[in-house]
Amino acid sequence: MKPLSRNRWSFPDLGVGVGLRTAHYAHILEKQPEVDFFEVLSENYMDTGGRPLRVLEQVAERYPIVLHGVSMNIGSTDPLDREHLHKLKSLAARTRALWVSDHLCWTGVAGRNTHDLLPMPLSEEALRHVVARVKAVSDVLERPLILENASTYAEFASSTMPEWEFFGRLMEAADCGMLLDVNNVYVSAFNHGFDPKAYLDAIDPSRVAQYHLAGHTNKGTHIVDTHNDHVIDPVWDLYRHSVARTGNVSTLLEWDADIPEFEVVHAEALKSRAFRLEEKAVAAAS
């Protein structure tokens, strides 16, 4: 298959970005490092009118911004949180965000939020449920929703299909995109015993709007997606494998715990350039 240079929505390949984190605010504002784009955790900026929002506005003046959420609760059987969606839409407009993403998961029911990315049963019932909700969210946001594959530590006996099939059918039926987290594919493959390349090979490359990379913690019996370390070589290999299918797609490194200096995070992100396609390969493909 020829690598595609663009996804179906013509989201640009922004290059290599990092997550905007409080620990790096001063460095970013003062040094204005050469970063291709920043990804912002949406919920951290929805309910504040203070310094975080001011910093975000300053960053958005200089860098492309994409929004990434953790509380859309798209898979929950609770009603959609309209307040959340409207604030998200407003934040996207304010920051001129190029796209808006969240996770294929649920975070709580009965009006509560566990603030975790909980796994979905991969069943026909769950698929119908999520398709309807993604369509509803896209209508509110007036843009395609991008969903990330979360790391999962449990799988349901009632699941009738692998996650890649669930994702493929969801994206087709709800016309949404994917934020393909290669580390999460690796983590879930380890935890559930599937072939990560089979997952990557089953994803429609034209639906991949963004990549995520991160470090994790191997507990021996299972891996936890901790975002607290460098990306391991097998994950880089998977990234290279996937980029060969999708072409160059905006790629972001997440580092959320034990956060080192900005330069360390950025340098880790920039390693991905070695695995991205040469310019001429992209041109030939497009």
Binding site: R51, L53, T77, G193, G220, H222
Partner: protein, 279 residues
């Protein structure tokens, strides 16, 4: 291998959340009434597949084990001085009880700790709870001020431009990021000692204190006030007529009360506590 149990999506999610939110071990969680109501623990393998290395219960336990850690971490961010005072174990214990009573009901962690001060005040198990509850109340004010919307400060130079006859009927309006607190303990001094990592903490004995918390240049500031200062500033911030606020404040002061009140006002305006004067 027995066939999967046919749980609906709402039942499945309700069961899993009940397990995750349980404060005990995961074995206790699956046996607890809230989880049992949705799923007999003997049937868990028919809902969660075991892996080669983890049982079904252990796999749910990965999520359950992280829940309280996340809540503790979030509240520690909002209440660092309370966490310092109670110590890691004490803080974790009180947060465990708090999130059972007041679990997160918002997409944001920002609102999780909104009822923490009142919870501490009513927690008989917390030592020196009057002090701790007051300390939490101050830290909540700091959080509120940090996140409040931005409003422009009334320039200090404007005071001189207000005609003298306009003052009595004027009302000052504080910026959105302004709060006042009256406490029964010296909590601002304690908070400051924690921020400075000074382990020689001030006394936690009862003592009435008053503190203004506001934001200037996107940074949160705190100022200790005397009781007359607090009363005067509170009256102004509540939008009382300036003339009335001054008259009330002057009654409790000795000597040249007018000059003193004007000096306070000038300082507070210079600190950016007010956004406008409504004449």
């Amino acid at each position: 291998m027995r066939p999967p149990l046919d749980l609906t999506l709402p039942s499945l999610q309700g069961w899993m959340q009940a397990v995750i939110e349980h404060p005990g071990t995961v074995d206790e969680a699956v046996e607890a009434p809230a989880a049992r109501a949705a799923l007999d623990p003997a049937e868990i393998e028919r809902v969660i597949r075991p892996s080669k290395t983890l049982t079904s219960v252990e796999r749910v336990g990965v999520y359950q084990g992280m829940y309280l850690l996340r809540m503790v971490e979030a509240l520690e961010g909002d209440y660092p001085a309370v966490a310092h005072f109670l110590g890691a174990e004490g803080f974790s214990e009180v947060v465990t009880r708090y999130v059972q009573a007041h679990p997160s009901v918002s997409y944001t962690f920002n609102r999780l700790g909104a009822r923490f001060p009142e919870f501490l005040r009513d927690s008989k198990a917390v030592g020196n709870r009057g002090f701790v509850a007051d300390l939490a109340r101050l830290e909540l004010l700091v959080t509120e001020v940090f996140d409040a919307s931005q409003s422009p400060a009334w320039p200090a130079g404007e005071i001189a431009r207000v005609p003298e006859e306009a003052w009595p009927a004027a009302r000052l309006e504080p910026i959105a990021a302004f709060r006042l607190g009256a406490f029964g303990y010296p909590v601002n001094a304690y908070l400051q000692s924690v921020k400075e990592e000074n382990h020689d903490h001030p006394s936690t004995a009862r003592q009435a204190t008053w503190t203004a918390v506001w934001r200037k240049n996107y940074e949160v500031w705190r100022l200790n006030l005397s009781k007359p200062q607090y009363d005067f500033l509170r009256a102004l911030a509540k939008g009382r007529l300036f003339g009335k606020a001054v008259a009330d404040a002057a009654r409790g002061l000795q000597g040249a009360a007018g000059e003193q009140l004007f000096r306070w006002l000038r300082d507070w305006v210079a600190e950016g506590m007010f956004t406008r004067l409504n004449v």
